[in-house]
């Protein structure tokens, strides 16, 4: 049992205990029914009671069945309440934590895997909470409940049950450990095999271009066949564990049957008691076997928990704790000797200092890996510098409430994300209370109105992953419209033209130029034709500013900037 997952049940403890309690109630009804059944048979067989005098016993048996069904139903409902509450809570908390970690953290992770963990992984916890956890307690309480009833009826059966029951969990632990190891290996091999197949499929075009695609049929057949042989070898051993469990449980029933049968011969036990014990014996072992069958949910749940808690245990950037409001009219943003390293061996910024005056338009250029994106992440407060300080006038940026600071910024990224909503809704993100007219104005300023109004549903066209597929340039202009609408004093541009072709680039640059008017602009750029007009250009290499100045003076310096410029043309 995973301790942290167990702790998750605190938000629905009542539902959890209700689930377990109802399962015990099921066991009680089950015994009532078994008792009635054995009485009917006993009376009809040995006492020759006529059928019409057995009505009460039939009624009691039906009462047992009905109660058992009802309690089982309620138990399932309670278990679902438990599982759904915890799943929702886990998703909510993990996503909140991811938002606190910010996009800079996600860059180093596989975003697809995080989505899978949150969507499908958490779903796997469903059976963990709904079935596995209650099964653990049911395996303790139901046999306990039955054995208490058996004790006054028949001492020998009580002893047989008492002695065999612990053997089952014991075997389960002993064999289960080995089997669990084998199962994990098997699972790893299975996903490896699946991954290989996906790999081949995704690279199919490349394989065809290289004329190697037909050849893969043999490889797939061979690998899958190898897998089958290896796996069957493992399973032959792994299934032995369930064989042992099965044997133990059924043989125990057989032992009880034979043991009471022999004593019946010599009148050592009454027939109705004997029959009751026979009916109840399989039910006694059932919860233990169920637990064995749920073992898989347990290991799977633990694996998901590991991935989930690994995310939740990531410390968020410390800088998000500020509470001060952002000053309305700041004069300058000072970046002072800032250092940042993703890992100690991989420093990204090694002492960067620069000052951005309000109204100034600056550009940060340099080859990829030079630290441009890290610097912008610090300004957006997606990351926190490890030494040095960023100040807004005299206030440390980290002292300002993070939300208030971000309200001051309109950000246009390299690959803007469009949400599964209409184009209008996507633009409106910039200012939720904007009127339709304001949205159209923003779109016009971003040079997006023309193409939007040509779409069949205009501004109501759904976009994003499940909507209309927009070109890179179109998506970028919608993002710029969003930025226009936000009307923030500081604009941060994170290589917004990096993925565009020349024609779209020209349109986007035009829109950005309009957006920049009268605002402070920090522009991260890879392509150099976007930065010529900047008041100040900083060239970043290996985490340091190596050249700075406006375009003319940098060309005149004839250094790295000038070289890059020549190569680009």
């Amino acid at each position: 049992m995973n301790k942290r997952l167990w702790a998750e049940t605190r938000i629905a403890r009542a539902a959890f205990w209700l689930t377990v309690a109802l399962q015990v109630v099921v066991a009680v009804f089950l015994m009532i029914q078994a008792w009635a059944l054995s009485q009917i048979i006993n009376r009809a067989y040995l006492l020759n009671t006529p059928l019409d005098q057995l009505g009460d016993w039939f009624a009691l048996a039906l009462f047992g069945v009905g109660g058992r069904a009802l309690a089982g139903w309620l138990s399932a409902v309670a278990a679902a309440r438990l599982a759904t509450a915890i799943k929702a809570d886990l998703r909510r908390r993990t996503m909140a934590h991811l938002l606190a970690l910010g996009p800079a953290f996600l860059k180093s992770e596989r975003s697809g895997e995080i989505v899978t963990t949150l969507a499908e992984g958490v779903e796997k916890l469903d059976s963990y909470f709904r079935e596995y956890l209650p099964a653990i307690l049911a395996a303790i309480f139901i046999p306990l409940c039955i054995i208490i009833v058996v004790l006054p009826l028949d001492l020998l059966t009580f002893l047989v049950m008492l002695l065999t029951a612990p053997l089952i969990p014991l075997f389960m632990v002993l064999i289960g450990k080995a089997a669990g190891y084998l199962a994990r290996q098997q699972h790893a091999r299975m996903s490896q095999l699946g991954a290989h197949f996906v790999d081949v499929m995704q690279g199919l075009v490349t394989l065809r271009l290289l004329n190697r695609s037909r050849f893969q049929i043999k490889t797939i057949r061979r690998i899958t066949e190898d897998f089958r042989q290896a796996t069957m070898g493992v399973l032959r051993v792994a299934f032995l564990s369930s064989l042992a469990l099965e044997l133990l449980a059924t043989l125990s029933v057989a032992i009880v049957a034979v043991e009471i049968g022999i004593r019946l011969l010599y009148g050592g036990i009454a027939f109705d008691h004997a029959l009751f014990l026979l009916i109840i014996a399989p039910e006694y072992y059932m919860p233990l076997r169920t637990l064995g069958a749920r073992f898989h949910s347990g290991t799977e749940g633990a694996a998901v928990a590991e991935r989930l808690y690994a995310l939740m245990d990531q410390p968020p950037p410390a800088a998000n704790g500020g509470v001060q409001p952002a000053p309305d009219t700041w004069r300058a943003l000072h970046i002072d000797d800032v250092h940042f390293a993703y890992t100690p061996e991989r420093p990204a910024l090694r002492g960067v200092s620069l000052t951005i005056e309000r109204g100034q338009q600056i550009a940060i250029v340099g080859d990829s890996g030079g630290g441009k994106t890290t610097l912008s992440a610090l300004i957006l407060r997606f990351l926190d510098q490890q030494s040095g300080v960023i100040r807004l006038d005299d206030t440390r940026l980290n002292d300002i409430a993070v939300g208030a600071w971000r309200d001051q910024i309109a950000w246009v990224s390299q690959k803007p994300y469009l949400f599964n909503a209409s184009i209008a809704e996507n633009i409106r993100m910039g200012r939720p209370d904007a009127t339709d007219e304001q949205i159209v104005t923003a779109a016009r300023s971003a040079d997006a109105h023309n193409f939007i109004s040509r779409l069949p549903a205009g501004y109501d066209t759904p976009c994003g992953e499940r909507g209309l597929h927009l070109s890179g340039g179109q998506a970028q202009r919608i993002a710029i419209a969003r930025a226009f609408l936000k009307d923030a004093p500081l604009i941060v541009l994170d290589e917004p033209t990096a993925n565009l072709d020349t024609a779209s680039e020209a349109l986007v640059i035009g829109a950005l130029r309009l957006l920049a008017q009268g605002r402070t602009v920090i522009s991260i750029a890879h392509r150099l034709n976007t930065v010529i007009e900047a008041d100040m250009i900083y060239l970043l290499a290996d985490g340091r500013i190596v050249e700075q100045g406006d375009h003319q003076s940098l060309i005149a310096q004839n250094g790295r900037y000038a070289q890059m410029r020549r190569d680009y043309a």
Partner: protein, 544 residues
């Protein structure tokens, strides 16, 4: 649905004998339980009359025998059915791959993204379970029901009919209710799951926008929407649980009701000694019937997976070979005469009478913005698509005279975004020519300016690069693409936007070495726009 079902059954035909064996073993497993309960009950009833121990005859032995038999049968059944499953998986994969391979990329554009492809692969995996989860349970149930009915019928026909009636009710009524509920609630469930997936994708991929535009306090708007969806999902799941729980309750009533009903009929018809036997045997037999409800769910899911696969497999390929044998390439020339091509019948033509002459050994830069057909040229030469009109002469023969493999042997393409397989760097390069020596691989890598960065990796050429190249940068990826293209022996070398992901300095340096290395081969460079460098390197620029 029925067609899909029959076709899926056909797929399993090569494994008929093993499947029959697994079914028998499965039936014997439950049969042992029936035997255990029946013989135990008979033994107790007999013993209650306190005869001599000899009158119990073999009963105690039979009880122990069934106790052991059950475990052993279950063990064997699991082995055999898993073996069938894995064999089926291999069979399905190969079949599916063979059908899919000719469809890439032309007919897979609907399934373009990796996610969709991964889902198709997942479908193959879920289909392998169709035997285990969906087909076996009803057949096992049938065998057990017949066996148990015969057993009871041996004592009394009316009692047997009563048991059979309950068996049939259990086999039809409960699965039907489950199927109806699954259909009713399943659609909404699928929709909610897709919604959840989309919501999580938005949260992760759109996190920057959520934080910067999402209403100040760390994406309050997004959190609100997430909360609403979580609540909606939880409410729906609770509703499903209520119905599933009801189904289980009905199952309990059906099983125990059957026992009581059989007992009721047997009273007065059967010898008292058999009362417990028939009752407990009936109840035990339901162990084979209860799994039918999950089997119904599994069957529905598996058949949808199968249908999705068949839809892909049945798509006719875009290009078919006209000849069995491919002619030998004569030289490295390429001529297009009035070539017309459109991607779909209703799409505007990408090539509207294109004529192009590239002589053997020429060096040409083909220029054109997006949509001008640069990649289309590669698609046609690689025989991924069929052109509508005009003639293409590749290396001295009509393009259609080649087999698809033959045509591809004439051109080495450096893709804009090549796929990197999850293996070593060496393996990734060697895929271009499996018989290449290590020296040839190194030579090609040096020419593509990839050698230095490869040697800087922890294990050099043996470094495993992870899923789709994992940590390699766009530039490094392109250099591997170039290494592959150089290693593949083909008279024509096509470079698709070779410097798109490289910074200018490196890009230019690479181009220079490539042109030195490709002596004697025809080189066609596809580019967005003209660069002074092209003239410098003596390329003829042609606008497309």
């Amino acid at each position: 649905m029925l067609k899909t079902f029959i076709r899926t059954i056909r797929l399993m035909r090569p494994f008929t004998r093993m499947i029959v064996l697994a079914l028998l073993l499965g039936a014997l497993t439950v049969g042992s339980s029936v035997g255990l309960m029946a013989t135990s009950a008979w033994m107790l009833s007999k013993a209650a009359l306190q005869p001599s121990i000899a009158d119990l005859a073999v009963a105690p032995v039979m009880v122990r025998f069934f106790g052991i038999l059950r475990g052993v049968m279950r063990y064997l059944e699991r082995l055999v059915s898993h073996d069938v499953t894995f064999r089926l998986l291999a069979h399905l994969r190969v079949k599916f791959y063979a059908a899919l391979e000719p469809l890439a990329p032309a007919r897979l554009s609907r399934h373009r993204t990796g996610d969709l492809l991964a889902r198709v692969v997942g479908d193959v995996e879920s289909l392998q379970n169709i035997y285990l989860r969906a087909m076996a349970p009803p057949l096992v149930a049938l065998l057990v029901v017949i066996g148990t009915t015969l057993l009871i019928g041996y004592f009394d026909l009316v009692v047997a009919m009563m048991a059979l009636a309950w068996f049939i009710a259990g086999m039809t009524l409960l699965p039907l209710i489950a199927w109806y509920n699954g259909k009713r609630l399943g659609i909404e469930r699928t929709a909610l799951q897709a919604e959840m997936n989309a919501m999580m994708t938005e949260g992760v991929q759109g996190m920057g926008e959520i934080l910067m535009y999402g209403g100040g306090d760390s994406g309050a708007d997004y959190r609100q929407r997430l909360d609403a969806l979580l609540e909606q999902t939880a409410a729906h799941e609770r509703r499903i649980a209520r119905w599933d729980g009801l189904n289980n309750a009905l199952d309990v009533m059906m099983v125990q009701g059957a026992g009581l009903a059989v007992l009721f009929v047997a009273l007065g018809r059967l010898d008292g000694i058999l009362l417990a036997t028939v009752t407990l045997a009936t109840i035990a037999a339901f162990e084979a019937i209860t799994p039918l409800t999950p089997a119904v769910h599994a069957l529905g899911a598996n058949l949808s997976a199968a249908q999705r696969l068949y839809d892909v497999m049945d798509t006719p390929p875009a290009v078919r070979d006209h000849n069995r044998e491919s002619p030998e390439p004569q030289d490295g020339s390429l001529h297009l005469r009035d070539v017309v091509f459109r991607y779909a019948p209703d799409a505007p033509p990408v090539f509207d009478g294109v004529t192009l002459d590239i002589e053997s050994g020429a060096r040409v830069a083909l220029l054109g913005g997006s949509g001008r057909g640069k990649s289309t040229l590669v698609n046609l030469l690689a025989r991924f698509y069929e052109y509508d009109a005009g003639t293409v002469t590749l290396c001295g023969h009509d393009l259609r005279d080649y087999t698809q493999a033959g045509a591809r042997a004439c051109v080495a393409v450096m893709e804009q975004r090549t796929y990197l397989f999850n293996t070593s760097i060496r393996g990734n390069i060697r895929i271009a020519r499996p018989d290449a020596t290590d020296e040839e691989i190194v030579a090609a890598a040096q020419a593509a300016d990839a050698h230095d960065f490869i040697m800087n990796l922890p294990d050099g050429y043996d470094t495993l690069i992870g899923e789709d190249g994992g940590q390699l940068s766009g530039g490094q990826r392109q250099r591997i693409a170039l290494t592959r293209a150089l290693l593949k022996r083909a008279p024509i070398l096509i470079l698709d936007e070779p410097v798109a992901h490289l910074d200018a300095t490196t890009g230019n340096a690479i181009l220079r070495t490539v042109f030195d290395q490709a002596a004697g081969r025809t080189v066609i460079l596809l580019a967005h726009q003209h660069s002074a460098l092209f003239d410098e390197m003596g390329l003829t620029s042609v606008a497309l």
